[in-house]
């Protein structure tokens, strides 16, 4: 695990760690990539500015996978974190070691939701547009959100309240404040989203369901096949946007530059070939192909239309229910060899997280499961997560 600051031993209830996708001016920002190793930004993320203004200390940075779209951070140029034969996430490890009260992360492709769900932490990926993305390394701009992870939901709520709010510097930032609606009354349990889960996750779902019911919440089973298409469409959108966003790293102005090249084309090619990891390269090729003139309508445009259909499906669900319950991941931990047998895990395990990514709806992860709610219901979802926490204690 690579942590840049030495301030980490300073324990305080205002200590926050941000992940390496948020730009800082006093620490380098590398986005887990050799390409940006040691990159110093000229400006800092809006979320960090707001945290500091509210008395929080940014005590360090947590490593991420290369451009943070993998499972848990294993594609970092600093290497994967493995403990007891299991893949770990840097932010989650920091929280479990009590080195910060919360981490603020850029959630691109489900890493934060998975890390929280597998480590008995709580995470909120807020409604798209409620937290400024100014000062975050861009990957999949149409879906990524600055998110919060903590040991408990109340801290998530507090930190989210600080970083949320309109920002003129982000053209997608929304003007609306959160609606503090009353608690969850009816929850839809999305049965069709449980495919691929193991026994432990299945158990977590059942016990969460039971907790909700015990607290007077009505839980109904629901099947929706359209929502199951989320990650297929999301993979197309994410990889295409990623391909475009990482094009700027060409070894010319900053970042890694190859030592040997002749001419500008070779400078680009050699620098990128040397600095980019395998998953990133694969994803660039996939994304570039999706956007080609030949494939745009067949692939990319279709993914945009699927995005709309999925949003409509959720809108229909939220006409009747306050939240949708589904797994956050297929299993509570990935063994060291998981990636050998699941080479495309970043594009398959996001089956569970893509619905929230592609729609921009808020999601809260806790104990193996997640709740997705309608836009601006973030605080309500965290309240529901608190029920689960209390039950656990």
């Amino acid at each position: 695990m690579k942590i840049y600051s030495s301030k980490l031993d300073k324990k305080s209830d205002k200590a926050i760690v941000v992940d390496d996708m948020l730009l800082t001016v006093d620490m380098p920002t590398s986005a887990g990539s050799k390409m940006l190793d040691g990159y110093m930004s000229l400006f800092e993320a809006e979320a960090i500015t707001r945290l500091k203004a509210n008395g929080y200390d940014i005590v360090g940075k947590a490593d991420v996978g290369e451009f943070s779209f993998d499972l848990l951070g294993e594609t970092s140029c600093n290497g994967a974190i493995v403990k007891d034969g299991k893949l770990c996430n840097a932010s989650a490890e920091i929280l479990k070691a009590d080195e910060a009260v919360a981490t603020v992360n850029l959630e691109v492709n489900g890493t934060v939701i998975r890390a929280a769900a597998q480590n008995d932490l709580c995470a909120v990926k807020p409604t798209y547009g409620t937290v400024s993305r100014y000062g975050t390394v861009p990957v999949a701009c149409s879906g990524e959100c600055v998110s919060v992870m903590s040991r408990n939901a109340s801290v998530c709520r507090e930190v989210l309240g600080v970083i949320a709010g309109h920002d003129d510097k982000d053209g997608t930032s929304l003007p609306e404040p959160y609606e503090y609606t009353s608690g969850v009354r009816r929850v839809a349990f999305l049965k069709s989203m449980t495919q691929g889960i193991d026994g432990e996750i299945s158990e977590k779902l059942s016990s969460f369901k039971a907790t909700l019911e015990k607290n007077g919440v009505e839980v109904c089973e629901l099947d929706d096949e359209v929502i199951c298409l989320s990650n297929i469409a999301w993979n197309i959108l994410m990889s295409s946007e990623l391909c475009n966003n990482v094009s700027r790293y060409d070894g010319v102005k900053y970042g890694h530059r190859a030592e040997s090249f002749s001419g500008i084309d070779e400078l680009y090619t050699n620098s990128r070939t040397e600095a980019f990891g395998e998953l990133l390269k694969k994803t660039i090729l996939f994304g570039s192909d999706n956007l080609s003139t030949e494939n745009y309508m067949k692939v990319y445009d279709k993914a945009l239309r699927i995005r709309r259909v999925i949003s409509e499906a959720f809108a229909k669900i939220f006409g009747e229910f306050d939240a949708a319950l589904m797994p956050a991941c297929s299993t509570l931990s990935y063994g060291e060899d998981y990636l050998q047998s699941n080479k495309d895990a970043a594009f398959t395990e996001n089956f569970y997280t893509a619905p929230a990514s592609i729609t921009g709806l808020p999601a809260v992860a806790v104990g193996g499961i997640q709740l997705i709610g309608k836009a601006f219901s973030d605080m309500m979802l965290l309240e529901a997560a608190e029920l689960c926490e209390k039950e656990g204690k």
Partner: protein, 480 residues
């Protein structure tokens, strides 16, 4: 066989907004140091997000309305990807799917009469940077001042058929956009650039020939030469089979007077357009639309007709003045003060335009206190200041916009004297000094009178009412 040339133009025009399209850097870098007007956003650093400059959309809409376009009420921005060192984020934000304006019409008038040129679309986009080659160091530097400066690209249908039509069309675009004050359109400043798409076909044919494109043309003379050359090359290929025409992008070398096919590597490639997720669709509501429509200027030909019908100007004078919005504004302001359209027009056409020509300043760059010009014209027509002195004052007024003509004339001794005694004295001396001229005049040589008159006026430093001087002079000669 007779052939016709089919030409479509893509004209890039820099919009005259204060700041760039997606950041607050100044958009005016002409004459600045390299990389003086840059920030992390227009340098493509990670983490900056584009925020659309509303003025750019205002100007884009206005341009669309000036060219009779339909305005798309929901207009979107898209990313166009390609690698080039002058493009810092390796994509250009442009409009591909829903440009701000479509389906326009521009009327042009050439020696062959009037003609309509259809406008396919006008889209807004950001400019790229500039590469500066240093021959001594054998390196290339990048200047990002121009990066993200707002442009519109005006795409015409292939409705033009000669170099003359292209020239008139470009002039027309320039005039309309300048009337609307959205752009400078000065090719020499790089605020107007042009891609020429050209093909040749037998006259009367309804099929298009093979089309070639010449990019980034930046002088009207070069464009005209390139069109002549390409037309001849195409006809030669068709008639004599000198080469096989292929659809391609060519580079015009104005020094050699030839076009060259560009390396395929420079032109091949797929721009992979897709909607920019960081820029929300721009929705133009009725209020916004109406406010832009209300701000449109009077069109040049409407002004011209009004000058003829309302102010009684000659067609020639009206044409001259409506060549430029700056001349029109100067005329209207001066007229409002001096109340003589004829005088105001005269001063502008014979004096102001010639000073501009002499100083090699384009009419649109005219900067003068037009209110003061009106006052100066009044001083002359009221006989308070002589014309020759007034011209000197006008010339000084170009350099000092604060000049008050009356005070300035007083201070410089330009005020006409009504002292008949002084004039009579000067006249008497002049006559006495030049008996030959007097004799010539009496012998019927009208010109001789002008010579004495000129000497008197000079002696009086121009400060004499011409009519008064003439009367006193003739009286004095007749008395001899």
């Amino acid at each position: 066989m007779k052939y016709e040339t089919v030409i479509g133009l893509e004209v890039h025009v820099e919009l005259a907004t204060e700041s760039k399209i997606f950041c607050s850097c100044s958009a005016h870098s002409y004459g600045s140091e390299p990389n003086e007007h840059v920030c992390p956003a227009c340098c493509g650093m990670p983490g900056m997000l584009p925020v659309v400059n509303k003025r750019v959309v205002d100007f884009g809409m206005k341009a669309g309305m000036m060219l009779n376009c339909h305005i798309n009420r929901v207009t979107t921005f898209d990313k166009k990807s390609y690698y080039y060192p002058d493009l810092p984020a390796a994509y250009q934000t442009t409009q591909w799917f829903a440009p701000v304006a479509v389906n326009g019409l521009v009327e042009i008038e050439t020696s062959k009469g009037k003609k309509n040129v259809r406008i396919k679309q006008i889209h807004m986009e950001e400019d790229a940077g500039k590469l500066v080659h240093d021959i001594r160091e054998d390196t290339t530097h990048v200047d990002f001042n121009r990066t993200s400066v707002p442009l519109i690209e005006i795409v015409s249908q292939p409705d033009l058929s000669s170099a003359e039509e292209v020239e008139v069309y470009l002039d027309r675009l320039k005039n309309l956009l300048r009337f609307a004050k959205v752009a400078e359109c000065e090719m020499a400043h790089g605020t107007m650039r042009c891609d020429v798409n050209l093909s040749v076909r037998p006259e009367g044919s309804d099929k298009y020939g093979v089309r070639t494109e010449m990019k980034n043309m930046n002088s009207i003379e070069a464009i005209k030469r390139a069109i002549e050359y390409e037309t001849a090359r195409h006809i030669d290929a068709i008639e004599n089979g000198t080469e096989v025409l292929v659809q391609e992008t060519r580079r015009w070398d104005d020094i050699k007077g030839k076009s060259y096919a560009m390396r395929t590597k420079e032109t091949a490639g797929d721009y992979r357009y897709f909607p920019d997720p960081n820029v929300m669709p721009v929705v133009i509501d009725d209020e916004w639309f109406d406010s832009i429509q209300d701000s449109l200027p009077e069109f040049p030909e409407v002004k011209r007709d009004r000058y003829i019908n309302e102010y009684g100007l000659s067609e020639y004078d009206a044409d001259q003045i409506t060549k430029s919005i700056a001349l029109c504004e100067c005329f209207e302001e001066a007229y409002s003060v001096c109340k003589s359209a004829k005088d105001a027009a005269n001063w502008i056409i014979s004096e102001i335009m010639s000073i501009l020509n002499k100083r090699m300043i384009t009419y649109d760059m005219l900067k003068i206190n037009a209110h003061a010009l009106g006052e100066l014209i009044l001083l002359v027509s009221d006989g308070k200041v002589g014309r020759a002195n007034a011209k000197k004052v006008l010339s000084d007024m170009f350099d000092d916009l604060t000049i008050d003509p009356l005070k300035y004339c007083e201070a410089n001794g330009y005020i006409v004297s009504n002292d008949t005694g002084l004039v009579e004295k000067v006249v008497a001396e002049a006559i006495a000094n030049d008996p030959k001229a007097v004799a010539d005049y009496k012998g019927g040589k009208e010109k001789a009178l002008m010579s004495i008159y000129g000497k008197c006026m000079k002696e009086l430093k121009g400060n004499c009412d011409p009519q008064m001087l003439r009367t006193i002079l003739i009286d004095a000669i007749n008395k001899i």
